[in-house]
Amino acid sequence: MTEILVAIAFLILAAFYLSWRASRLDRLHTRVETARAALDAALVRRSAIALELAASRRLDPATSLLLAAAAHEARTAGPDEREMAESDLSKAMRAAVEQPRFRESLAETAGGADTLNELDESLAKVVYSRRFYNNAVATTRAARRRPLVRALRLAGSAELPAFFDIDDDPPEIPPTGG
């Protein structure tokens, strides 16, 4: 009799534990999805700014072409080329923005200061959202590696989230160019 009670108690506890583990995984997957949405929004915003700059006639044609081509590549890249294309866009934007007197001359044009601000903001948000996304991915992957989670398939059919690895270093800001 006692053995049966102990067994029942054990089963109830185990069920509670497993359900807690499963709901935690569910929460983590939701966090990954939200972070991914933020990352995608930031990347789209960044390429939109690059295209807007390219089309604004405020830059020389060569710089415009560089930015437009890189932004277009980033937007049309398939899933496998996405990371490469976004890294290329980072490099193109660095090359454009780090030109001598780029910031000063853009700031002198009408609305240029606002554009510069939007540009810096879009670059910073890519850095932030990507770091937050990769954090969520790392936590989720660690949780899914646990033996119990794997043996009982607690993660269900959810795909294993993948890190998003790109070069997103923003352009250098000259030391006193605050």
Partner: protein, 378 residues
């Protein structure tokens, strides 16, 4: 945006995190955001209109010193009510790894949560032991900020994951105007130092050695030193005949600190390294003090590679004496450096730093709905 900020340490007692929260909150309010701060505080102490008390602070040992924090059912209930009634777009907790309000807020809320990590931990024990307890609360944090490379490193090592780096700001306007201390800077020239006297990395001995070299040729030159530590160790390093020209203030109030920056002809930051940013340096720049600093990477960056202050080879007392002497003899160059410093420091003003923090808020607050009470933990 409607922003809820959680300060884990006693609002009534001055400290780095409290000052950070106050400056951030005021910068955000100045930019038109709605901000509410919850912090431990005595119920009868006067609070700024944007601060809500979570109850009295309790002193507990933490990270090698005493932290005045807030915990227990009463605090948890107050935090929960504050979250429910605040209808925040984003919740910003500070030090969620401390046994205080930050952790309670993570527990009571869900939605976009940003956390700022301030501390660096030499010993990992406390953090690692606490990790399982904090796990579900910390997993709710969507965006993590570290205020220094050291804080970020502690986070990566002990809790895993990464954070974005947004350094402390300085409220430039607070330092711009102040009366010099009585009798300063004086006729014969003066050099200032501010920081822990007994911490070797702050480099005070380098400055004292340089003073020993400068003092014989400059009979009026004086040294003004402020900061915690033992003054006997300072005097022991100065040649006996010059000791009456070294003034040690010890610990000073915030107000006297600002006056000290205005009391010297040259401000010296002789740090040997380890400084990730140099808050003292940005304060001195805000006050418009002509600066001479060691050429460690962080200082060199803040000073615009020498444009906004003179750099000397780290640890080189002879070079410091030479450069400081040249600067003391050249008032026009000092005025130029002072202007350059005031301009360069604008980058580190809280208004600029707060803009970066808002970018983090906007990054995590992509989903509608904002911050709500977490019913699962009630």
């Amino acid at each position: 945006m409607r922003i809820g900020i959680v300060c884990p340490y006693d609002w009534d007692v001055p400290g780095g995190v409290q000052q950070h929260v106050r400056d951030l909150a005021e910068a955000l309010i100045a930019q038109g955001h709605h901000v509410s701060v919850i912090a431990p505080a005595n119920d009868d102490s006067p609070l700024p209109p944007y601060v809500v008390s979570s109850g009295r602070a309790i002193p507990v040992p933490a990270n090698g010193s005493i932290a005045r924090v807030s915990f227990g059912f009463l605090s948890a209930a107050r935090v929960r009510r504050w979250v429910r009634e605040g209808r925040f777009d984003v919740l910003h907790v500070h030090c969620p790894e401390a046994p205080s309000l930050g952790l309670l807020a993570c527990w009571a809320a869900r939605g976009p949560i940003v956390a700022t990590f301030h501390a660096q931990y030499e010993r990992s024990r406390a953090l690692s032991v606490g990790a399982p307890i904090m796990q579900s609360a910390l997993e709710k944090i969507t965006g993590r900020i570290a205020v220094s490379d050291a804080a970020r490193k502690s986070l990566v090592e002990h809790l895993g994951g990464d954070a974005v780096l947004i350094p402390n700001g300085v409220t430039v306007d607070r330092y711009v105007e102040a009366e010099p201390l009585p009798g300063w800077p004086g006729e014969g020239g003066s050099i200032g130092f501010l920081g822990r006297m007994d911490e070797p990395r702050k480099g005070l001995p380098v400055l004292l050695d340089a003073f020993n070299l400068l003092a014989p040729e400059r009979p009026g030159l004086r040294l003004l030193i402020a900061g915690p530590g033992d003054e006997d160790d300072v005097y022991a390093r100065v040649r006996p005949e010059f000791r009456d020209r070294v003034v040690v203030l010890g610990m000073v109030s915030e107000e006297d600190k600002i006056r000290a920056y205005h009391s010297v002809d040259v401000f010296c930051a002789p740090n040997l390294g380890g400084e990730s940013f140099g808050i003292v340096l940005t304060e001195a720049m805000s006050a418009g003090a002509p600066i001479i600093a060691s050429d460690i990477p962080a200082f060199s960056r803040v000073l615009g590679e020498g444009e906004a202050g003179v750099l000397f080879p780290v640890g080189d007392a002879a070079a410091l004496a030479r450069e400081a002497g040249a600067l003391l003899d050249d008032p026009r160059r000092r005025a130029k450096l002072s202007d350059a410093a005031r301009t360069a420091v604008r980058r580190y003003d809280w208004s600029t730093v707060a803009r970066d923090v808002v970018r983090v808020y906007e990054t995590v607050a992509v989903t509608a709905g904002g911050v709500v009470e977490d019913d699962r933990t009630r």
